[in-house]
């Protein structure tokens, strides 16, 4: 197949858009801003979900499900939350349609107007804390450690597949605790779970840190995040974990009788990652030939392609291919033998390159004569002839090697693109060039906003365990005690 894929050099943004569609991950739908996640993309998401879900359960969480709709008035209860979330959203105002009296089609039945409008959840803190109110009486009911896998809707004006869509899929953890310390520990635990997942399964290196006050989640006292760097030098927030203090408990009047028999407001956290991670995955690893997927989450880890000139050769190859397929399957490797006769082998090579399958095995009559196969790894595109003896073991090791190599390559890129600067001039240059810029800032929202207006750069995070050093703010020259990470971001 001819991929006709724009290169990253030519137009990074177009390369991304084309790649998502051509590799069969997702496509736009008839509904503005909503995407269709195609089977290949959804299998990738399922693999991510399964691993994350196991991690959540291993850390004591259980899943539950809360309503899609939130009464409008709930948003007004938490002052900063309403500013952040209740504005651009899908509003349900009616509950019935009727046949159009003037002709064809159907129209909204004006007699079926809701007394109070319902908002399609952009995030579920309000409806969940309204529910928790009935679940919590005493410290014996705490902690509550719930997670929800759900769809959410935020009415974005400019959308891009996976990165920013009106509807997206995510998980949102919502926990309730009896003390500030316990809630803070949970907030930190979950950002560590995210970092573990994103680095060790998705192969994306991240920097853990806290958000500046200006970039915090609407309603949070503190937001921890993991920040990744894309190949075009822009940062991407890959996951967040929020310490919500007692804000939502106060907004929804959720008190508990503590061990000292006193009524106290409950402490809260929330944390989430979304299908946006797939965008980060694509932009971290893929190249001009297509996707490059990490073996641990790839929908398909190995593809076997026969190379033949006639039916006799195909038969001969198929015998060996099926044996190899069976032995790989027995080793828990996801493998497909593509013996479709309607496509040439060269077309198939291209197709699976585009789809980022980590390992390709090609088998032709000459390989069989020599009891070997040709193996091509997607990350480096290196080819090698390998003896059939112990092939499953070889592939197992190769998949691990690809996983490690992808992370290391991405980490080297990231590390090479962190620039320390001390003057405004250098700051502007560094932001223009791309990557993380590590610089002093005077700690005020005004300065942060001014920097954003001048350069489009935002503070991505204040890294955990950030070295303390005296310095001067790159914009105002005012004193600063630590550097923070700036970047332009998705």
């Amino acid at each position: 197949m001819s991929k006709g894929l724009t290169t990253r050099e030519e137009n990074y943004s177009q390369w991304y858009n084309e790649l998502v569609v051509k590799s069969d991950l997702a496509e736009t739908s008839a509904v503005r801003g909503c995407m269709v996640i195609k089977p290949y993309g959804y299998t990738l998401w399922e693999n991510m979900q399964r691993i994350l879900d196991n991690m959540f359960k291993a850390t004591g969480h259980t899943n539950a499900y809360f309503p899609l709709f939130i009464p409008k008035s709930f948003f007004s209860r938490e002052a900063s939350h309403v500013e952040g979330f209740a504005k651009e959203c899908a509003v349900v105002t009616h509950y019935r349609l009727k046949n159009d009296p003037d002709g064809k089609g159907i129209v909204v039945d004006e007699n079926a107007k809701l007394e109070e409008e319902l908002i399609v959840r952009p995030t579920s803190e309000t409806i969940i804390w309204n529910t928790y109110k009935n679940w919590i009486q005493s410290y014996r009911d705490l902690p509550i450690l719930c997670n929800q896998w759900a769809n959410v809707v935020r009415w974005e004006m400019r959308t891009r597949l996976f990165l920013r869509t009106a509807e997206f899929l995510w998980q949102e953890g919502h926990t309730a605790h009896e003390s500030k310390e316990e809630a803070l520990a949970e907030t930190e635990k979950m950002i560590n779970v995210y970092a573990d997942f994103v680095e060790n399964y998705m192969g994306i290196p991240v920097i853990k840190g806290r958000k500046s006050a200006n970039e915090r989640f609407a309603g949070a006292l503190d937001t921890y995040c993991i920040e990744a760097l894309m190949q075009d030098g822009k940062a991407l927030q890959a996951g967040t974990s929020h310490f919500l203090g007692q804000n939502f408990a106060k907004a929804f009047d959720v008190k508990f009788l503590n061990k000292e028999n006193q009524l106290e407001y409950v402490w809260a956290t929330s944390w989430g990652v979304s299908t946006r991670l797939i965008g980060a995955l694509i932009m971290t690893h893929s190249d001009d030939k297509g996707l490059v997927l990490p073996p641990k989450i790839a929908p398909l880890q190995v593809v076997i392609i026969p190379v033949y000139r006639n039916e006799e050769e195909l038969k001969q190859v198929s015998v060996v291919a099926e044996q190899i397929k069976a032995s790989l399957t027995a080793s828990n490797i996801t493998v497909k033998y593509d013996d479709r006769d309607s496509y040439r082998s060269g077309w198939k090579f291209n197709e699976y390159e585009l789809k980022g399958v980590p390992v390709r095995i090609a088998i032709g009559p000459r390989d069989i004569a020599q009891n070997q196969v040709e193996i091509c790894r997607r990350d480096t595109l290196e080819k090698q002839s390998v003896n059939n003896e112990n092939l499953a073991e070889y592939i197992k090791n190769l998949l691990e090697d690809i996983q490690t190599n992808m992370f290391n390559k991405a980490k080297q890129f990231r590390d090479n693109n962190i620039t320390k600067v001390d003057t405004w001039e250098d700051f502007e240059k560094a932001i223009e060039k791309g990557g993380f810029v590590y610089a002093h800032w005077d700690g005020t929202i005004e300065t942060e906003v001014a920097i954003k207006e001048k350069t489009k750069a935002t503070i991505r995070c204040i890294p955990f365990n950030n070295p303390q050093e005296e310095g001067k703010c790159i914009l105002t020259g005012k004193p600063s005690k630590e550097r923070v990470l700036f970047a332009k971001a998705y």
Copy 2:
């Protein structure tokens, strides 16, 4: 704990409502008609999902995800579909809120009115077939075998937890085929998958059959269903699989080039089961003491409860309990040791009975002295002292026995409640008494509707492999070639 559960005899409907809430499966929410599925209920759903999902994949299907919203005009395209679905639904008319200029709170921003209203999906045939149009050009693109796990919304006026809620969770399979035969085979395959799942995992016996024209899915040419019988003698439709013919392909202009190089409309099926199955599960097996859950899907299969008078005894019991827990866990049995000191053992016995945990193990000092434990099975409430030797093996067999016994008991009840009648008088009596009534019907919609108006009974299905026999319609006396199954239904 005091359960205070209404008995089935006293008030079946109230028994059900109380049981769902008291056993921590689900509760109503602040949003009319929408439920909160609590962790215990959601774990049950996850177990069901996992098994079903594996079955779907084993039969060649993959998951995908389609938009939550459907443009209003899509519903008008398939004439009978719009009648069935587009009426009672949640309608999104606006995409923004703003601060109320007259005071506190937020109001809908009238400037943010959608050009075309969006319907929150009640089912996804329309948006999916609009998508398939772009996926299908030739027979090489067929079949498409997609499934979606999703939330859907149908604005029901009278709701009941799990059985009928405005929002519910389900899966919907949507397949596209090149021939009528293939689509019909798929329709049948999936009703068989559902029957397999519902009978062999949920322990609910079902009757497979086809719906009468009047009870068909809106837009289908044929609807296959599985029908179960609840303890109060009412039927419950547990799953449906629809042969959609070329209706949706025509509505959305989805044609393919067949092997003879001719353009043809694509053939379709759709099939689904929902959280309603949990309602069926409860009403099939549970008793006046609470839930009775089949071991294969129970969130917790075994609970171990210590019986002790002082801390010394608890310590002693805990050593043995932890050993047993470890050995059961090693045998892939889901087990919990509840050593909370804040509740008495009698309270715990009640609690886990209410929650339907299949097996309870009680351990006291006297049991330890005799190297045994007391085992109580939830389905029969029989207690037995069992030696600790090979306990895991014993429990494994016991769980299998409980699973089998629950199915057999439900099947016996169902079989005892199928009444064959030949006169209208007997029909009315039988329907009044409850259960399935197997009777002749003249095959017309008019008669079906008249019977429903007189007795509230509907045709649940025309069983597969239904014996053909000459007879007379119980209402009109007109000739009939086969009996059909009537019942009052949920």
